[in-house]
Amino acid sequence: MKNTFLFPAKWKKFGYLLFLSGLALGIHYLIFNFSPDLLNFSIPLWNDIEKILEFQPNNLYDELLSLLIISGGLITGFSKEKIEDEMIQRIRLNSLVWAVLVNYLILIALIVLLYDFLFFDVMTIHLFSLLILFVIKYKWEISKMSKTPTDEE
């Protein structure tokens, strides 16, 4: 059954580069709230129902980091493996199911425990948590699988 869309295997390294750099810079951004001035632009924004696409100043650093994490995570998690067989597809599917369940368990806990602006702050991290959980779980399972002994051992 070969009807699943996946990125080519050679894209995986590029995906790792985007994902890990996005994550590292994202953590740095969260801790230090650093935004480089060269990314200050006046762009058409839609943040008010009465002012559609009005030009306003905005720093695009956080948007750039979000795109890095999302695009990198998607490419890393959904690229073909060197040998793409049905067992790999099963591992990928199981990892995705696990990530969805864990992600929403975390969300349930956050909804119950956090309120007001702290909740919204944490929700920005939750935008990426599903993808992050999936990539970690998937790569962990692949790593475990690759350590199986040969028939001579």
Partner: protein
């Protein structure tokens, strides 16, 4: 589900690597099938039967747990 993949493979003198290359799967998949950690699809079962020159019913055996 039990299987005799490793036994048949050994009788024919085929390594896991050789079998995996002929079947178009990873060596780890062959290992997982032999150790019962992975149940292959119908297509893989048929390929195994053909490559190991044995009927599928003699290669794989249902256990009581499979009926639950």
């Amino acid at each position: 589900m039990k299987n005799n993949v490793k036994i048949q493979r050994t009788i024919l003198g085929i390594s896991q690597k050789e079998l995996s290359e002929k079947m178009g799967v990873s060596r780890q998949t062959i290992h997982a099938i032999e150790t019962g950690k992975y149940v292959p699809s119908t297509i893989l079962c048929l390929k195994l039967g053909e490559l190991l020159r044995i009927k599928i019913e003699e290669l794989f055996e249902l256990e009581d747990l499979d009926w639950k």
